[in-house]
């Protein structure tokens, strides 16, 4: 909405500040001037940004009211300045108006003007419209728009000769057709409120006038309407028919109940000024008492001045907001203050401020007009205790551990497609969104894996071939009846995995991810184990593992299946892990314990064996962690694979077998190991490995 300062100042004859200062002061009080330009009619044009609760201020007179309160200057009364009562120039009976839908229409004013000759508008209207860029239509229509811009009250002019009998404000008949001013025809429902004559609907009340009864250049006689409608009814009607108009905007937020007669006067007088004619008969003003009691005549509310200080606190000047200031501001805003006892007032609220309902609303008004930035900056004292989130440390540990290993944190969409939810969600099922932005975002993610796959693909499609990402975020289970949330964690890796003496390049990515998972889980209590049970279908067969912590499954990971790679047009292996972070949050972080370091020398022995593929590392490790040959568990300090070799051609190592270089470290905490012990234990190691089907290499 735009405001002309020239127009504004016509209501504020005493206003001394310049337009720049005025803009700043209004803005600081919530009547925000977003832009300022020179106006063609002189003065400035303000582009306003006013919050939706302040419809009363979305017009020139409304802004003038605010300025009057801020500067404590006189505001010309609305009745005198723009709506001075119009005297009938030709006597006549009042125009017949009947409000049938008394629950939807609170007030209806009507006035007849006869003998107009419709042409373009001139004078102030033309000047202001040109400055505002408001399109002129014809003088009577422009007058209604002028009234709207002046005081924010929608009005309407009918071609009186198209009105049969009198005005009836009623509900529409279901299926009733109505051609509107915008050229569309609407089929109405019984909840729509219409302005009708004795035979037909003339306009959609509070939203838009009708085509048939519009004022044209041929119009000779005019009926001026200004009314008040139930906000909820207008909102419903406006939304039902997809019509958001200036009129509906105001009515659905609550118009000024007392503005209807004033606006009718204004329009009547200006139509006569612009288009000639005679005002016939008195202003007809039908008021529904119940609505008046709920709006213009609503009960005064009580205000304790002490509450103002309790809510607002200290002012920068240390003086506080005194009783006199409170009374002055509220009166300037149109409240009528009656002192009921010491420091307490009954405040009658202005008809144009339906947003004011409670004491706190008045306190806000006081703060606003006083100026927010004139309050002191104080800090409250506090007697409570600070509580840490129970899993704050777990979260930080997970993030730090992964980052330390080179994994960067990412955040992906909360949503996924139904297809991906089915593939990655497994038993968790899915929760659908009722109004998704797209089919690809139709479900809440049951797992972080699809988002991770998307992010890996995003990188690969942009020639970023090496990616290490993790995401920690909410995953959703349950059903649309009851959604269950928990925190998930995913790792995603592709490219740049380095082959080692143990792992071929093709397998290195899997083992790198496994290493990251091991290092992460090592931060928590419980033994870490891996098996290949219960793997989901998105993991390529034979290329994934399930992870156990303290015997319970906490993660699965592995290479994306060929199907998943193909559907994303990916040509290099991607490893994804999904980890139940919620479980980790519920698991104790491992408390490190220091152990005495041995003062005696450790002895390394390497063993080179050929094993059938079926003998896994876990089997070998378990076979050597068995107490025997007088070797105590703490004397076998470590058993590690050093090198694995497979010969694809089956020459040096037979197909189906692999050679393993194994390093065993012996060390005692109590003594230097003897040659005899080491020889005995080494022989035992050889025997154990041979027992597993291994053949020692020469």
């Amino acid at each position: 909405m735009n405001i002309l300062t020239k127009w504004l100042r016509s209501y504020l004859p005493e206003l001394a500040v310049d337009d720049r200062q005025l803009a700043e002061d209004l803005t600081l009080r919530g009547i925000a001037v977003e832009g300022e330009f020179d106006a063609a009619c002189g003065g400035r044009l303000y582009e306003m940004d006013i919050t939706t609760n302040r419809v009363d201020a979305m017009n020139h007179y409304g802004v003038a009211r605010e300025a009057a309160a801020i500067y404590d200057v006189a505001l010309k009364p609305l009745s005198e300045s723009i709506g001075a009562a119009v005297v009938e120039t030709k006597p006549g009976a009042g125009f017949p108006v009947r409000i049938e839908a008394r629950d939807l229409c609170g007030r209806f004013t009507a006035r007849v003007i006869r003998g107009v000759s419709v042409g373009p508008s001139a004078g102030l209207i033309a000047e202001y419209f040109a400055a505002l860029g408001q399109k002129p239509i014809s003088a009577p229509v422009d007058v209604t728009n002028f009234g709207w811009l002046a005081m924010g009250q929608p009005t309407h002019v009918f071609d009186l000769d198209k009105v049969v009998g009198g005005i009836v404000v009623r509900r529409a008949h279901a299926g009733e057709k109505l051609a509107l001013l915008d050229g569309t025809e609407k089929t109405l429902v019984a909840d729509d409120l219409v302005i009708a004559d004795e035979v037909k609907a003339l306009g959609l009340a509070g939203v838009m006038g009708g085509w048939e009864s519009r004022v044209t250049e041929e119009t000779k006689n005019i009926l001026v309407e200004a009314a008040w409608f139930d906000p909820a009814a207008i909102r419903a009607s406006s939304r039902r028919h997809g019509l958001h108009t200036d009129a509906s905007h105001r009515f659905e937020r609550g118009a000024d109940f007392d503005a209807a007669p004033l606006a009718n006067h204004l329009v009547t007088r200006m139509v006569v000024e612009q288009s000639g004619g005679e005002v016939v008969g008195p202003l007809v003003d039908v008021v529904v008492a119940e609505w008046a009691a709920k709006t213009a005549q609503r009960k005064a509310i009580s205000l304790k001045v002490s509450e103002v200080e309790r809510h607002l606190g200290t002012t920068a000047d240390g003086l506080g907001i005194g009783e006199a200031v409170v009374a002055q501001y509220l009166s300037a805003l149109g409240c009528v203050m009656t002192q009921t006892s010491a420091g307490e007032y009954a405040v009658k609220l202005p008809s144009w401020r339906l947003d004011l309902e409670r004491e706190i609303d008045l306190i806000e008004e006081v703060a606003r007009v006083y100026g927010y930035n004139r309050f002191a900056d104080t800090l409250p004292s506090f007697a409570g205790a600070v509580r840490e989130l129970p899993h704050a440390l777990h979260e930080a540990t997970i993030r730090e551990t992964l980052r330390g290993m080179g994994w960067s944190e990412a955040i992906s969409s909360t949503f996924t497609s139904a297809e991906e939810a089915a593939v990655f969600g497994g038993a968790l099922g899915g929760v659908a969104i009722g109004n998704p932005l797209s089919a690809e975002a139709g479900m809440l993610r049951p797992s972080l894996a699809p988002g991770m796959a998307t992010m890996l693909a995003h990188n690969l499609h942009r020639d970023v071939s090496s990616v290490r990402l993790f995401e920690m975020g909410t995953v959703f289970g349950g059903s649309t009846a009851e959604v269950k949330e928990k925190v998930g964690l995913a790792l995603g890796a592709t490219g740049a995995a380095v082959a080692t003496a143990l792992f071929k390049a093709d397998d290195a990515l899997f083992y790198e991810t496994k290493g990251a998972i091991e290092a992460l889980l090592q931060k928590f209590e419980g033994a870490v184990g891996f098996d290949t049970n219960a793997l989901p279908a998105w993991i390529a067969a034979g290329r994934g593992a399930r992870v156990l912590l303290g015997g319970e499954a906490v993660a699965v990971f592995g290479e994306l299946s060929a199907t998943e790679l193909q559907s994303r047009k990916l040509r290099q292996p991607c490893v994804i892990a999904t980890i139940d972070a919620q479980r980790l949050f519920e698991t104790k972080l491992r408390q490190p314990v220091s152990r005495e370091l041995s003062r005696f020398q450790a002895v390394e022995r390497d063993f080179s064996f050929v094993f059938p593929d079926a003998v896994t590392w876990a089997t070998i490790e378990a076979a050597l962690h068995r107490e025997s040959a007088g070797l105590k568990p703490d004397e076998l300090r470590s058993v590690l694979p050093v090198e694995i070799f497979r010969d694809a051609k089956g020459k040096s190592i037979a197909a189906g077998s692999y050679s393993l270089l194994l390093r065993v470290v012996f060390q005692s905490h109590e003594r230097t190991l003897t040659e005899e012990e080491i020889t005995r234990w080494s022989e035992w190691v050889v025997a154990q490995l041979t027992g597993l089907g291994g053949t020692q290499r020469a």
Binding site: G313, L379, F382, E409, A410, N435
Partner: protein, 370 residues
Amino acid sequence: MSTAIPELKQYDEAELDRVFAELEAEVAAQTRALTSDEAMEAFRLEWLGRKQGRLGQLSAAWLKSAPIEAKKSLGIRFNKLKARIEEARAASAATEMKAAGAGLDVTLPGAGQRMGVEHPLVKTMAEIVSVFQRMGYSVGLGPEVETDFYNFEALNFPPNHPARDTQDTLVVAGQEAKPLRERLLMRTHTSPVQIRSMLEQAPPLRLVIPGKVHRNDAADATHSPVFHQVEGLCVDTNITFSDLKGTLDFAMKAFFGSAVKTRFFPSFFPFTEPSADVQISCIFCGGKGCRKCKHSGWIELLGCGMVDPAVFESVNQRRVEMGREPLYDTQKISGFAFGMGVDRIAMMKYGISDIGLLYSGDMRFLEQFA
């Protein structure tokens, strides 16, 4: 090579001074010639060699046969000479090291150490939260799928408020059969956690609430259906608007630096009254006006206000329904709440032009924050 040891006529001071000065002069002269590995080694062997070293010979010839009273004096001189020799070797060795550096191209990049990167949103959110934690705020969390009650009703949104429209809010499918207040939706702000916290906890409370929120916004450079907020809530007896101002002014100075100024504008939110928008003086130009602040000198950063009594009343009512005491007496208790968009702050702070980058997992983008 002169391997002879000077003749020592007697163990008196003058004679000792003479011979040792002679020896030191000789060391000094040789030092200048130590320009190669060979020379270094020869020098070492001449003086310090285990079998033929002159120092060893001196020791054997003089020290052992010296009279007791002269031993100390001789020892001091002997040690001084040895120190000179070592100094000469160390100095030459340092020169030597530089020369050896020619074997390495020190301008080659070091072996890659890839550190994982903290996500700019996670980092920004943690920084904001930490400012308030230091001011005595506890962290509060809540679910991302909420009911209409927590997201709207208890926060004083009227039944027909535009925010409740499905054009703004993503809703869970199949909720039509449920009463309005039980219908599930993606929370549109972190404010429902205010309600959840007040239902669970008695006043006083100070909470900082970080979290992910969702809106039915098509993605563009500044909009994302997923974004992040940090919410704050402070409730106690006698919490005032000036406390809100002071708290946010302090927090903004802690976050952006002590030179930052704040200013407050009236605004409107259903769950606060009075409500305010807060601007900070532009962190890029210091308030002079630049492209980033659209030449205004100010940047709009957060929304805040005093908790609307209607919110306390909903909390009380719900507490009673839950069999708890209605502890949020609006005659005694007051509070303030504030909320800010983490994405916008991170974008501003790091100069990110497209919000979508934050949710892309693009390594090229993320690695800028290493």
